[in-house]
């Protein structure tokens, strides 16, 4: 029979029937149900298995604090493990499965662990599995890992997307129960910019779960009216299905809005969840309270639930966990559960009230001063054993037991900046302390105002205080105002296998053992027993464990301590924190001006930071990248090649102190550089290490264009701003990046001038005399397009770099290719670029690795001692100038066929091969088509004095040992005749 446990009333839409599956069995439900309420309605109590003993588990709660009722939701690549049935909003076709059981939920093989619980006590694994040592990885651990874990991932990429967003408000109200709604009404009517967020899909909090009246109507109706009024206010934003997960610095809150989890499938382009960063001026925590259980023998059977949860299921979801229900309570609130269920026609087996003076009820039996001594029922509760006041035992038959041990304020967010809650004796509970996150205040049950009236009132007051509103309180609806005092009752004396943390299987016995072994601080207790470490983060278990530890230590609870809560309030999918920054969108992609052209040419691209650069340009018939790269190098050195070098950083440095500024930035001199000239510059960090290198072209008396390496463009700009704003604030120098403004191409090779002459407008003389090596100028090309020309060379050939506005970069590259046909011009990529710079002995990223000094690079003399430049002083420390320091060298194999391994280490020609005899290492290596052998650059101890020495290059990692010769790093044209041609 379907939905056999349905009751009358409730806030579900009975006109629509939805079908869903649990463990492949079909059931029906209604809109407004959660998976949990729907399962109960269909008389399903057994939902999962516990972590350690694989004990049968049902629902404990009706909310996000649920430790037991966790399932695998959805199927295929949308499978979602460990999802709380109590927070899953029902939709048509929902599919869920129980988890952590094999072969089936009813017959779980690992339930055998329960039989051995005596051996598997807290921390047993620290004391054994040690012999023999190797068995840990091979035997013990794999066993443990297979048994452990809860749900499983699909192991596939989730097709659904998440978003991130940013919202701002004057007042963020967290929780839309009586306090939150009243606060929102108060603030909203006053015109404040308000956000009201609640984790539930129905706003109203406990008002939707209780049977009592507000004014003369149902509490839920009042909530609905309040929500209606609020949604009509333009200055109030309602955010249902939104959990505020954390209180971060300076009034920033993280919130997760579940925009699509309640839908069978997402509309195109819409996110499943949104992570909101909410910037608040003030915030008001109205998170309510969580009922706490009572520990007694075998208190973990399916059907044993929090009394307030039974009430929520009955009043809001119109369902009961069973037809015969008993209630165990230590306070009046628990009695409401019996009354409400009775009113809905559920048989009350009895109310077991631990208080000798508990109020009598005429509709059903109240057992005063009684306690539950044990329970029975293999896969669900069937009998409760009651120890009566007179000591006799009575057995009650019932399918559900509602337990109420009082309430704990939900102080979680008040602890997120490590503030500590304080103990309140009247409530016998922790309430928010005084060291709250700045801007946050607390109202309602979260602040200890337990009655409905108290919550409404403190909500209104809280809003007025937060916004500094004058005037009198708004009218509050008439509501119950029961006294809030609670007498604590944590556990039934003498119980042992009484569960505190039901998911992790932590019992009273474990806490006692923890105390016995000296793990007595709360932190030690948690870590040793795993109490409160489960997916519910101990929302229903921490207090019980703490109370028992306090009793064992003979201290009060506050003396014993409190565990503070960390974000997130409830677990958050990793995808939600990532939003759209994944896959190809993980980082932005930077394209060069010639990218589209290069793509047409079939170029192979490579990541360089966020840039995509052409690595080489294969021609039809070329089957190996080396063919293409060798051809590009040979053709460039033989005639002319073109390479897009836009990615190099370009910084415009202007001002009357521009030259003096560069004199500080670079370790070599710039003051005397003539206008129209370019100079190589070496930039040190303050600690004397090389930071970057590049060129500075002096376009005018007070105007330089500085180039940086691609990798350091951003950090060099930041460094320059630091130097001009901090240590030297009165230098007249202005900076701006122009990297993206100009498309810049290197044109290299003996025919580079001839090619350029075809596009440079005739009034500009670029002959060797008119435009010598290291010249620079503003020119025009192709009949009047403004451009910049630099005669600099990275390849060692006669070479130029030409820059035009980026939008014309594509056209210029195409023009260069057509004009260059007569010279058989080639485009070349980063590989050929790299080969040519190694042939020329130019240091690059692999050499400028942040641990090399000018001395190591053989440029020690460049560091001027005649001026103040960043890094010059510390570069003189003894440790950086020792005899035998590493120096950059060239490396050639003795056997032409041998390949140089970048990352290989250099050893003497004979003798041991180990760290003690390490002489240096190879930084860069390539095949040189020019020398027709492999070559490398590297750092070698006292390398300057070892040219011609034979050594061994070893790379045990790749099983390489070859004989090499140490040579000059300048393999090609050491005198630099070509680039001056």
């Amino acid at each position: 029979m379907t939905q056999g446990n349905r009751l009358s009333g409730g806030q579900i839409d009975r006109n629509t029937t939805l079908s869903f599956k649990f463990d492949n069995r079909s059931y029906t439900a209604h809109p407004g149900d959660t998976l949990a309420s729907a399962l109960l309605a269909n008389n399903v109590r057994l939902i999962g298995r516990s972590f350690k003993y694989h004990r049968p588990r049902g629902l404990l709660t009706a909310g996000s604090e649920e430790p037991n009722g966790i399932v695998e939701l959805r199927t295929g690549n949308r499978q979602e493990p460990n999802t709380r049935a109590t927070t899953i909003e029902m939709f048509e076709g929902l599919e869920a499965r129980s988890q952590n059981r094999w072969p089936s939920l009813k017959f779980d093989a690992l339930a055998i662990n329960d039989r051995f619980s005596n051996f598997l006590t807290a921390g047993f694994y620290y004391k054994t599995f040690m012999w023999p040592a190797a068995f840990w990885e091979k035997l013990y651990e794999p066993m443990i890992r297979r048994a452990a874990g809860l749900g499983s991932l699909s192991m596939q990429e989730d097709p659904d997307e998440c978003d991130k967003g940013f919202r701002h408000c004057d007042l963020l109200i967290i929780g839309a129960g009586p306090a939150g709604l009243m606060a929102a009404l108060t603030a909203g009517r006053a015109g404040a910019d308000v956000i009201l967020a609640d984790e539930d899909f129905a706003l109203g909090g406990r008002l939707n779960s209780e049977s009592f009246a507000l004014n003369d109507g149902a509490a839920a109706d009042w909530a609905a009216q309040a929500v209606a009024e609020l949604s009509a206010l333009p200055n109030v934003r309602l955010m249902p299905r939104t959990t505020v997960i954390g209180a971060f610095d300076h009034g920033i809150y993280g919130a997760v809005e579940r925009t699509g989890d309640h839908l069978a499938s997402l509309p195109a382009g819409k996110p499943r969840q949104i992570l909101w960063r909410i910037y608040t001026k003030r915030s008001l925590l109205c998170a309510g309270a969580t009922e706490r259980p009572i520990a007694f023998e075998n208190n973990d059977r399916p059907g044993i639930m929090l009394a307030s949860a039974l009430r929520t299921y009955a009043n809001r979801f119109a369902t009961t966990a069973a037809q015969r229900v008993a209630v165990l309570t230590n306070n009046d609130d628990g009695l409401r559960t019996a009354a409400d269920l009775h009113a809905k026609g559920v048989k009350i087996a009895a109310v077991i009230d631990v208080r000798p003076d508990a109020p009598i009820n005429h509709d059903y039996e109240v057992l005063r001063g009684a306690q539950v001594s044990d329970t029975k029922g293999r896969l669900g509760l069937s009998f409760v054993e009651v120890a009566l006041a007179d000591g006799s035992i009575r057995t009650l038959e019932c399918g559900a037991l509602g337990v109420s041990g009082g309430w704990n304020p939900n102080v979680h967010l008040t602890c997120h900046q490590r503030g500590r809650p304080v103990w309140n004796d009247d409530l016998a509970a922790f309430v928010p302390g005084t060291d709250l996150p700045p801007g946050l205040s607390v109202a309602g049950a979260a602040n200890g105002a337990m009655s409905t009236h108290g919550a409404l009132r403190s909500g209104a007051e809280g809003a007025m205080k937060a916004l500094d509103l004058k005037g009198s309180l708004p009218d509050l609806p008439a509501a119950e105002d029961a006294p809030a005092s609670q007498t604590p009752f944590w556990y039934v004396q003498g119980c042992s296998r009484a569960w505190l943390d039901q998911q992790n299987d932590v019992t009273v016995k474990d806490v006692k053992l923890s105390h016995q072994e000296g793990f007595r601080s709360v932190e030690h207790l948690k870590r040793y027993t795993t109490l409160g470490m489960a997916t519910d983060q101990g929302k229903t278990s921490n207090m019980g464990g703490l109370a028992i530890m306090a009793e064992l230590a003979g201290k009060s609870i506050p003396e014993t301590g409190t565990t503070i809560f960390r974000p997130p309030y409830t677990p958050v999918p990793i995808a939600t924190f990532a939003g759209r920054m994944k896959g190809k969108e993980f980082h932005p992609t930077r394209l060069t001006p010639s990218h589209h052209w290069a793509k047409e040419r079939g170029a192979v691209f490579v990541e360089a930071g966020n840039w995509l650069r052409a690595q080489w340009f294969p021609l039809p018939g070329e089957t190996h990248w080396r063919e293409s790269v060798d051809r590009e190098v040979r053709q460039t050195r033989a005639s002319v090649g073109v390479c897009d070098c836009t990615t190099l950083g370009k910084i415009d440095v202007q001002g009357s102190d521009a030259a003096a500024f560069l004199n500080r930035i670079y370790c070599n001199g710039f003051a005397k550089l003539a206008v129209g000239k370019t100079r190589y510059g070496l930039m040190l960090r303050e600690d004397g290490m090389v930071m970057d290198d590049g060129t500075a072209a002096r376009l005018g008396e007070d105007h330089f264009v500085v180039t940086t390496t691609t990798a350091n463009a951003v950090s060099v700009y930041r460094h320059m701003e630091f130097v001009r704003q901090c240590p030297f604030p009165d230098m007249d120098v202005q900076l701006i990046s122009t990297t993206e403004a100009w498309a810049q191409y290197a044109i290299a090779g003996p025919n580079s001038r001839k090619l350029l002459q075809k596009i440079v407008d005739p009034e500009f003389d670029i002959s060797n005399e008119g435009f010598p090596f290291m010249a620079c100028a503003n020119i025009t090309v192709c009949c009047g397009l403004r451009a910049r020309l630099f005669r600099i060379s990275f390849s060692g050939e006669l070479a130029f770099e030409i820059a035009v506005p980026s939008r014309y970069g594509d056209a210029l590259m195409r023009r260069l290719m057509t004009e260059g046909e007569e010279f058989h011009v080639v485009p070349y990529g980063t590989e050929a670029l790299g080969v040519m710079r190694i042939e020329k002995g130019h240091a690059a990223g692999n050499e400028l690795n942040g641990t090399t000094t000018a001395l190591n690079l053989g440029m020690g003399r460049m560091v001027s001692k005649k001026k103040d430049s960043i890094g010059s002083v510390l570069s003189e420390r003894e440790g950086l100038n020792e005899p035998g320091a590493l120096m950059m060298v060239g490396i050639k194999p003795l056997n032409q066929e041998d390949k140089i391994t970048a990352g290989g280490h250099l050893m003497e020609a004979s003798g041991p091969v180990d760290a003690a005899h390490d002489q240096g290492y190879v930084t860069s290596a390539a095949f040189s088509p020019t020398l027709e052998c492999h070559i490398g650059l590297g750092f070698l101890k006292n390398g300057g004095a070892r040219q011609g020495e034979k050594m061994r290059l070893v790379s045990p990692l790749t099983d390489v040992t070859i004989d090499v010769e140490i040579v000059s790093a300048h393999f090609v044209d050491p005198e630099g005749e070509r680039l001056r041609a």
């Binding site: 997307e161 978003d163 967003g165 940013f166 919202r167 701002h168 195109a268 382009g269 819409k270 996110p271 949104i274 960063r277 910037y279 759209r580 920054m581 969108e585 932005p588 992609t589 930077r590 394209l591 060069t592 990218h595 966020n610 840039w611 836009t646 415009d652 202007q654 001002g655 009357s656 102190d657 007070d702 105007h703 009165d730 230098m731 007249d732 202005q734 701006i736 990046s737 122009t738 990297t739 993206e740 403004a741 100009w742 498309a743 025009t780 090309v781 192709c782 009949c783 009047g784 397009l785 403004r786 035009v804 506005p805 980026s806 939008r807 014309y808 594509d810 056209a811 210029l812 023009r815």
Partner: protein, 186 residues
């Protein structure tokens, strides 16, 4: 006049336009830009020259003016000037001529890609993109912020009319982020 054909930041010969619901995102290539940075101690001269050039007083912190030539505050003593490309391709030269030694001027035209976001609901798109409270921005407000790890300027041209300037080389990523947000929010 040269005969090189320009392409837009997104790589087309014509600007790209995308509409989702009530909001339109248009690539706007037809602007010339130059930065004008005041030389030390030349604040009066420079701002006066800038006013002369643009026909409006140099805007203050976080503001921009748009007369015949727009001027946009981008940092202490620093502005971007913005004008139609076809009439002001050499805007940097004009700005330099106008300010002389009172300011440092740099070509910025192709350093940036501009997208105009127009239509009701645009605020819902922007709140998925940047941490600024764009609901509070009024005509003439400008701020630089970060969109999907990209430093961008956001200008409020009028109610529900915004311009976004992002780095030209990342125009594709920026465009993808904007259109994705439009599909999500609208």
């Amino acid at each position: 006049m040269h005969d090189l054909v320009a392409i837009t930041a997104l790589g087309g010969t014509d600007p790209q336009v995308d509409s989702v619901g009530t909001v339109t995102c248009s690539e706007v290539p037809g602007v010339a830009l130059a930065s004008v940075a005041v030389r030390l101690g030349k604040e009066q001269e420079a701002t006066a020259a800038l006013a002369e050039l643009t026909g409006a007083p140099a805007p203050g912190v976080g503001r921009f003016e748009s007369k015949q030539i727009a001027s946009i505050w981008i940092g202490p003593d620093q502005w971007l000037v913005e004008a139609p490309f076809e009439t002001h391709e050499n805007l940097a030269d004009q700005a330099k001529a106008a300010t002389g030694n009172a300011a440092s001027v740099s070509e910025q035209t192709d350093a940036w890609a501009r997208f105009d976001l127009i239509g009701s609901g645009v605020l819902a798109v922007l709140e998925l993109l940047c941490p600024l409270d764009t609901r509070r921005m009024v005509e003439g407000d400008v701020a630089r912020t970060s969109i999907h790890h990209l430093g961008c300027f956001i200008l409020c041209r009028a109610s529900e009319q915004f311009s976004v300037y992002g780095p030209r080389s990342s125009a594709g990523s920026l465009h993808h982020a904007i259109v994705t947000a439009m599909k999500s929010a609208l």
